[in-house]
C-alpha cells in the first residue's frame, strides 16, 4: 500500500463509516466505531515505509530502530485500548470492522455470484489475543534488535522488513476474509524469507531463506486450494458469512454440509497450509535452518508469532475441523502429526550442540504440542500454549541471541561454559533460567507448565488420545532434558568461552568500524566478550516477567479454562469438549453462546466422537491410569519435568552446586553424557544429524527435482528456445536470402511487380473458372 493510498483511506473514513452503518449487520457486532483499529496494521506499514526511506537516504543512526519501536508500541497501545473496549463493551460479540472496500466482483445476483474482499477486520477473542502478544512481542524485540543489530550496514533494511512483517501478521490475524488472510499469510512468508536471508552475503543464509520459502510454498498450495474450495462451498470468503453458514450447517446453495465431501476436504487442505507455516512433519525442515537469520527475527517470527499462524488457521476454522457427521480426517491428522512432530523434534533437539538450533527444534516440538492440543479438541489449551510459548520462547531465543552477540557468533554449547559467573551476564543467565524452566514445564511457578498440562490432560481425556498423551508426556520429559542440557552446559560450570567465527553470525566486513568488534578482532585467548547492554537486558527482564504474568491468567475465569480460554470461548475456535469435566457447569451457557458467537453447538458434537473408532467411549472421557487426567496431570507432568531436569543435571551439570547437582563437569567440552552416548551405538550420531531427514529429502525430492529441472532446462533451451529462436532466425535467413533483390534498380522491382500481378491474375482466373 502506498502512502497515497493510506492518506486516501484515512480521508475516506467518514464515508466508509456511513456505508458501514447503512449496511445490514451480518453479525452481532457492528465494529464501525472501531475504525481506528486499522492503525494496528497501518502503523507498522508506515514505519516500514519510513525505514525504507531511511534506507535510501543511507541513515546511519539508530533512527530506524526508534521509528519501529515507537510505531509498534503505538500499535500495541491501540490494540490494548481496542481490546479493553471490546472486553468491556462488546464482550462475547464478534466485531466486523470494515475499513474500505478492497475487492468487489460480481457476475450475478445470487449467492456465490459475487466476490467481496473488504479490507476489514474480524475481531473476536482469538484475533485480539493474537494481536496483543504479536504487537507486544514485536515492540520488545524491536527494542532488543536496536542494540543487537547495532553497527550492521543493513540496519534500516532490517527494520523495514521487520515492520512489514508486523503489518502482514496483523492482516493475517485481523483480516475478516480469506483473501486478506492469504495476503497476510504470504506477506509473513515473504518477510520471513527476506529476514532469514538478511545476511545475503552468507551462502547458508541464502540457502536457508530459499528453503524456507520453497517449503512454505508446498503448504501454501494447500492453503490456497482450501480457500478456493471454501469459496466454492460457501459462496463467500468473508468469515462472518462462512461461520454463519457453518453454524447453520448448510452450504451457500442450501445443501447440508454434512453431505458434502468438501466439508472434510477443506480442513485437510487448510491443515497442509498450517503444517507448512508452522513447521510440522513433514514440512518442518525449514525452521531449524531459518536460524541463519538474525536472532531477533528467530525470536519474533520463527518462534513466537509467524509459526503460530498455522495454529491460528486451524483454530480459526475449528468449527470445520470438528463439523459433525463427516469424517474427521483432518482433526485426526492434526493430532497425530502434531504429536509425532513434538516427539521427533525433541529427539533431534537432544543431540544438537548449536544452542539456537536446539531452540529451533524445541519450537518445532512445541508447535507439535499445540497441534496435538487442537487435535485432541482443546483449542483453548492449544491457544494458551501459543500464548505462553510466545513469551518464553522469545525469551529463550533472545537470551541465546545475547550469548551469540557477546561471543562473536559462538553457539556451540561445548565451547561455552559458566556464563552465570561471568561479569555482566547474570541477567541473561537468570532470564535464561526462567525461560528454561518454562520450557521444561517446571511446576507451579511457570506458565509453560500450565499450558502444557492442559494439552496433556485433554489428550488423555479424549477417546483415542491415550497413546498421544503418553508420547506427549515422554516428549515433555525429553524437552526438560534438552532445555536444561543447554542451561547446564552454557550457563553454569567452569568459566570458559571461545569466540565464534564472526560477529553474531553476520558478515564480518564491518569489523573494524566499531570498538567492540576490534576487541575480538584477535580471536583466541585475548578475546573479551561484551556483555549485553541496557536494551537487551531490559527486554529480557520484561519478557521474563511476562512469562510469570501469564500464570495468573490460568486461574482467572477458571470455568473457561483461564483468561485465554475465555477469549477462545468468544471466538470461532471455541469448542467445548464433550469429555471435559467442565461440561455440567457450562452446558447451559454454551447453548446461549452459540447464538452470539459463531461457534459450534455443543449438543451436535456429543453425538459425534472425533476419533470414530471409540464411539462407545464418548460422553465420558478417558482416564489417566484410572484417575481424572485433569487432576493427575498436575503431578505427573511435574514429575516428568523433574526427571528430565535431573537427568540433564546428572549428565551435564557442573560439579557440586549445592551438593545436589552431581554432574561433575569440569570442562566445557566434556561431560558424563559423552560416556553414555558412546554406549548407545549410532543413535546419538543419527540424532545429531537430524535423523538424516534433510539428506533423505535431498535424495528423494531435491535431487530428482534437480535432475528434472535440468531436463526441463535442456528441453526449454533446445526445443522451446529453438522454436522461439526459429521464429527469429527463419525471417532472418529468409531476409538474407531475398535481400539481394533489393538492388535499388528500378526495373527489378517493376519486374517483380509485373510477375506478381500476372501470377495473381492467373490465380484469380484459375480459381474463378
Amino acid at each position: 500500500m502506498s502512502g497515497a493510498t493510506v492518506i486516501e483511506s484515512i480521508a475516506s473514513i467518514p464515508s466508509l463509516l456511513a456505508a458501514a452503518d447503512a449496511g445490514p449487520a451480518t453479525v452481532a457486532g457492528d465494529g464501525s466505531s472501531f475504525w481506528w483499529t486499522m492503525f494496528i496494521p497501518l502503523l507498522p506499514l508506515v514505519a516500514a515505509a519510513l525505514c525504507l526511506v531511511q534506507m535510501w537516504v543511507g541513515e546511519k543512526s539508530k533512527l530506524p530502530a526508534w521509528t519501529t519501536v515507537a510505531t509498534l508500541a503505538g500499535a500495541f497501545v491501540i490494540t490494548l485500548i481496542g481490546f479493553i473496549n471490546w472486553q468491556s463493551g462488546f464482550a462475547s460479540v464478534t466485531q466486523v470492522i470494515e475499513i474500505y472496500e478492497w475487492i468487489r466482483l460480481s457476475w450475478g445476483e445470487g449467492a456465490g455470484q459475487s466476490f467481496v474482499a473488504n479490507f476489514g477486520f474480524y475481531m473476536d477473542g482469538l484475533s485480539w489475543l493474537w494481536m496483543l502478544f504479536v504487537t507486544a512481542l514485536a515492540t520488545m524485540i524491536a527494542l532488543y534488535a536496536s542494540e543487537y543489530m547495532q553497527g550492521d550496514p543493513g540496519y534500516p533494511r532490517f527494520f523495514a522488513a521487520f515492520c512489514l512483517f508486523v503489518f502482514s501478521m496483523s492482516c493475517l490475524v485481523m483480516g475478516d476474509n480469506l483473501v486478506l488472510l492469504y495476503l497476510g499469510w504470504e506477506g509473513v512468508g515473504l518477510c520471513s524469507y527476506m529476514l532469514i536471508g538478511y545476511f545475503f552475503r552468507k551462502p547458508e543464509a541464502v540457502a536457508a531463506a530459499k528453503k524456507a520459502f520453497i517449503v512454505n510454498r508446498i503448504g501454501d498450495l494447500g492453503l490456497a486450494l482450501g480457500l478456493y474450495l471454501a469459496f466454492t462451498v460457501f459462496g463467500s470468503i468473508e468469515y462472518s458469512e462462512i461461520f454463519r453458514l457453518i453454524d447453520e450447517g448448510i452450504a451457500a446453495d442450501g445443501t447440508a454440509l454434512s453431505e458434502m465431501w468438501q466439508t472434510w476436504a477443506i480442513p485437510l487442505l487448510l491443515m497442509v497450509g498450517a503444517f507448512g507455516k508452522s513447521a510440522q512433519l513433514p514440512l518442518y525442515v525449514w525452521l531449524p535452518d531459518a536460524m541463519e537469520g538474525p536472532t531477533p527475527v528467530s525470536a519474533l517470527i520463527h518462534a513466537a508469532t509467524m509459526v503460530t499462524a498455522g495454529v491460528y488457521l486451524v483454530a480459526r476454522f475449528f468449527p470445520l475441523f470438528v463439523f459433525p457427521d463427516v469424517p474427521h480426517y483432518a482433526l485426526w491428522t492434526v493430532a497425530w502429526v502434531g504429536t509425532l512432530t513434538a516427539f521427533f523434534a525433541a529427539t533431534i533437539g537432544m543431540a544438537q550442540y548449536d544452542i539456537k538450533r536446539i531452540m529451533a527444534y524445541s519450537t518445532v516440538s512445541q508447535l507439535g504440542y499445540m497441534f496435538a492440543g487442537l487435535g485432541v479438541l482443546t483449542s483453548a489449551g492449544a491457544v494458551f500454549h501459543v500464548f505462553t510459548h510466545a513469551f518464553f520462547k522469545a525469551l529463550l531465543f533472545l537470551a541465546c541471541g545475547a550469548v551469540m552477540h557477546g561471543f562473536a557468533g559462538q553457539l556451540d554449547l561445548r565451547r561455552l561454559s559458566g556464563l552465570w559467573s561471568m561479569k555482566g551476564w547474570r541477567i541473561v543467565s537468570v532470564t535464561m533460567l526462567v525461560g528454561c524452566l518454562n520450557l521444561a514445564g517446571f511446576p507451579l511457578i511457570t506458565s509453560g507448565y500450565f499450558s502444557k498440562d492442559m494439552i496433556l490432560a485433554e489428550a488423555f481425556v479424549t477417546p483415542g488420545g491415550q497413546i498421544i498423551g503418553w508420547i506427549l508426556l515422554l516428549t515433555a520429559g525429553m524437552t526438560a532434558y534438552y532445555t536444561f542440557r543447554v542451561f547446564f552446559r552454557v550457563f553454569v560450570g567452569p568459566e570458559h568461552a571461545e569466540p565464534g567465527d564472526d560477529d553474531h553470525g553476520s558478515h564480518d566486513d564491518h569489523a573494524d568500524d566499531h570498538a567492540h568488534d576490534e576487541a575480538h578482532a584477535d580471536h583466541g585467548h585475548g578475546f573479551h566478550p561484551h556483555a549485553p547492554g541496557w536494551a537487551i537486558n531490559t527486554v529480557l527482564v520484561v519478557l521474563a516477567i511476562c512469562t510469570f504474568l501469564a500464570i495468573p491468567t490460568y486461574f482467572i475465569q477458571k470455568d473457561d479454562k483461564g483468561w485465554v480460554g475465555s477469549l477462545v470461548h468468544e471466538s470461532t475456535a471455541y469448542y467445548h469438549s464433550p469429555y471435559g469435566h467442565h461440561k455440567s457447569d457450562t452446558g447451559d451457557k454454551d447453548a446461549e453462546a452459540v447464538s452470539l458467537a459463531p461457534a459450534q453447538p455443543t449438543t451436535v458434537l456429543i453425538a459425534d466422537p472425533p476419533h470414530g473408532a471409540h464411539a462407545s467411549e464418548h460422553a465420558h472421557g478417558g482416564t489417566f491410569l484410572g484417575y481424572d487426567p485433569h487432576k493427575a496431570m498436575y503431578y505427573v507432568s511435574a514429575v516428568v519435568g523433574f526427571i528430565g531436569i535431573l537427568l540433564a543435571a546428572w549428565f551435564h551439570g557442573p560439579r557440586g552446586i549445592a551438593g545436589l547437582f552431581i554432574g561433575g563437569r569440569t570442562e566445557a567440552a566434556t561431560c558424563r553424557m559423552d560416556g553414555v552416548a558412546s554406549k548407545l551405538g549410532p543413535l546419538p550420531k543419527w540424532a545429531e544429524n537430524k535423523w538424516y531427514v534433510d539428506e533423505f529429502y535431498d535424495l528423494v525430492f531435491v535431487k530428482p527435482l534437480y535432475v528434472l529441472g535440468h531436463i526441463f532446462h535442456m528441453i526449454d533451451k533446445l526445443i522451446v528456445d529453438g522454436i522461439v529462436n526459429l521464429f527469429g532466425s527463419l525471417p532472418r535467413a529468409t531476409a538474407g536470402g531475398i535481400r539481394p533483390s533489393q538492388s535499388g534498380v528500378l526495373q527489378s522491382y517493376a519486374t517483380g511487380m509485373a510477375v506478381g500481378v500476372g501470377v495473381l491474375l492467373l490465380l484469380v482466373w484459375v480459381v474463378t473458372s
Binding site: Q742, S743, G744, V745, L746, Q747, A750, T751, A754
Partner: protein, 115 residues
C-alpha cells in the same frame, strides 16, 4: 476493290469487330509497354513505355465504352489523357533534374537510392 471491301463490312459499317479485338490490341500494347519498361535503361524510354501503357488503357476504355453503349469510356480516356499529361510534365521535370545531377539517363545509376 476498296468499295467492295467497304460494302462487305456489313450494315454496321464497322464489320465484324468484337470487343475482344480492341482488348487484344490493348493487351498487346500494354504487354509491349511492360517489356519496354522492364528492359530499357533509358529513363525517358521507360516513361515513354508508361505512356504506352496509358495508351493501351485508353484503347481498352474506348472498346468497353462502345460495348456498353455509353460514353463513360471516352470520359475516362479524357481523364487518362490528363493523368498522362501530368505524369509527363512531372516525370520529365524529374528526368531533367536527375540528368543534371549525373549527366546520365541510366536508371541503374540511381540504384543507390535503395538506402
Amino acid at each position: 476493290m476498296t468499295a467492295t471491301l467497304l460494302a462487305s463490312m456489313g450494315e454496321t459499317g464497322i464489320g465484324a469487330l468484337t470487343l475482344y479485338h480492341y482488348l487484344f490490341v490493348s493487351a498487346a500494347l500494354f504487354g509491349i509497354g511492360v517489356v519496354g519498361f522492364l528492359s530499357r535503361r533509358n529513363l525517358i524510354i521507360m516513361f515513354l513505355c508508361t505512356e504506352m501503357m496509358f495508351q493501351a488503357a485508353g484503347l481498352a476504355l474506348i472498346g468497353f465504352g462502345k460495348y456498353h453503349l455509353n460514353h463513360t469510356g471516352e470520359v475516362f480516356v479524357i481523364f487518362v489523357l490528363t493523368i498522362a499529361a501530368a505524369e509527363a510534365a512531372l516525370a520529365l521535370a524529374l528526368v531533367v533534374l536527375l540528368f543534371r545531377r549525373k549527366e546520365s539517363l541510366d536508371a541503374s545509376d540511381w540504384a543507390s537510392l535503395r538506402g
